[in-house]
Amino acid sequence: MAGNAMTMQQSFTIFPFDPPGDVAKLRAEVRAFLAQHEAKLGVPNCWVVGDPEFSRALGAAGFLGMILPKEVGGHERHPLERYVVIEELLAAGAPVGAHWIADRQTAPLILRYGSEEAKQRYLPGICRGEIYTCIGLSEPGAGSDLAAVRTSARQTAEGWRISGQKIWTSGAHLSHVMLALVRSEEGSERNAGLSQFLIPMDAPGLTIKPIIDMAGEHHFNEVFFDDVLLPEWAMVGTRGQGWVQATAELALERSGPERYLSSHVLMTALIDAAGPNPEPQIKARIGELTAELWTLRQMSLSTAAKLAAGEDPMVEASMVKDLGNSFEQALPQRVQALVDCPSTRDDDLARLMRALLIAAPSFSLRGGTREIIRGIIARGLGLR
């Protein structure tokens, strides 16, 4: 329809999700793998929960680095085959947090823009589920306004010198390397003059300080750089092009199944607790949740297919994130409104509900706040 002035606008471009090969077989392989690790499953918000042993097992089974070339340890599968694998892992509540960022975005970025040295050093370990990464974007003065980053990289005779601070860095304490966006051109402003660097977390001059969240858990951190020395090859891509490279990653980050499945284990528990013949009110609410889940999955599949076709689905990805975050965020409160779950109740359903009630505020903050995401959608509509 596009390109014909007469035809109607469509709010969402639809791409068919059609991975190559035998998808049913692939799904069965993932489910068989999960069945072998059943004791580890059912984790709420599971993609921020790290379990290196589980990550290594996934790597050994060939489920990490799926889209990377064989010469760096990858499996040369199609991106939509990888999608099938990750949606199965997330729906089961598998603890995929340790390798999640590395497999989702750092590895593809290193493959695309990284130096030969960086590829050899990091990609095989990522594919084995042994090397984990974090993303250094936010700073104390640069949250939603990412272009305000001030952490600097200064070129010297020995290499690059990094100074400054990142904050809200998820998994920094479990990671081997950070992909950081820093200001490499002195005196530059806003989104010009930024570059991306790979910074080893054990580099001298780098300090990690935990930030405990309101659930009492340690996911994010402050990371300080005191004149950290990096070799030339640590720069990723083109000097000064960090903004374009970093924002291109965001479509990968925003449309995946993790944007609507963070609370899925609770939906599973709700349906199981309700049994095959629930009372009418519970049945109706389950029906509504099912319709929303199914629709979101179709939107996410279509966006993944558009991305795999080499097109930029920035607006569609933002729509998936906005709607998906609202769904996964509201789910624990909807369960709370429906099922009698006093705070003394201690079965699976109650435990998952309480954990997700506390975790849910983060869902529409991480990866771009709801307001920023809606601003991107509004720009796509021609309003900004």
Binding site: T7, M8, A91, D322
Partner: protein, 236 residues
């Protein structure tokens, strides 16, 4: 989109534009009632995806005409009727969204276009997401009907999910459309009600929220928690 479907949509745009004043006659004259009739029987040989594409346009251009029921013909079952309304709602919602965007980009208050205010931008983003959800759900229901060879019982899961999701979206989208239009959108003279009126009717017709939530909830409960996920992925 296939070239054939793109041509079909071009024709639909032109014919439905005539139908705005002339009613169903030009639609019948153009042979749209032959859309689903197989080529071997002298029809167009279109599939449910084609029907979805055409009904989107009908929903935007001639929401007051029962185009879907005329094309499908005969006794309309509730699931097929629901699918028709989802398709028409997808088009009507996109059209109401386009009207709303156009209005806020034109209407000035406090010395600037309404669309420059963040509060207005944010609610229109919600509207766009709801319209997108209906379009995606409708296209997926059409794909399920094609897979099932038009047997609505086999595509009941997708149709139920799509109609229920559409009903929810209609509630939000029509409210936002009217809110951003202000008083002018509440007048007889202004065309917004030609979209929002039918949209609100379609929310009741061929199964309201309670009907489809009960039906889909029963299916999900019967499948169980993990079984539901397996079914959703098996269906594609």
């Amino acid at each position: 989109m296939s070239e054939q479907r793109a041509l079909l949509c071009d024709t639909a745009e032109a014919v439905f534009a005539e139908a705005v004043v002339e009613g169903m006659a030009p639609i019948e004259a153009a042979g749209f009632d032959q859309l689903l009739v197989p080529e071997a029987e002298g029809g167009f040989g279109g599939d449910w995806g084609d029907l979805f594409a055409v009904l989107r346009i009908a929903g935007a251009k001639v929401p007051h005409l029962a185009v879907g029921e005329r094309i499908v013909g005969g006794e309309i079952s509730r699931p097929i009727g629901a699918f028709i309304l989802v398709a028409q709602a997808a088009g009507a919602m996109d059209a109401a969204l386009a009207m709303s965007i156009d209005y806020v980009n034109t209407r000035q208050q406090f010395g600037k276009a309404l669309g420059k205010f963040q509060a207005v931008q944010q609610v229109l983003a919600i509207f766009a997401v709801e319209a997108a959800a209906v379009n995606v759900a409708g296209a997926a229901a059409a794909a399920a009907l094609d897979k099932a060879g038009g047997d609505a019982e086999q595509a009941l899961f997708e149709i139920a999910a799509a109609k229920l999701r559409t009903n929810k979206a209609i509630g939000q989208a029509t409210s936002i459309a009217h809110q951003v239009h202000g008083a002018i959108g509440f007048t007889r003279e202004y065309d917004l009600h030609k979209l929002t009126g039918p949209l609100l009717d379609w929310r009741s017709d061929h199964g309201n929220d309670a009907y489809w939530a009960d039906l889909l909830g029963a299916m999900a409960a019967d499948l169980g928690g993990v079984g539901l996920w397996h079914e959703v992925t098996r269906r594609g």
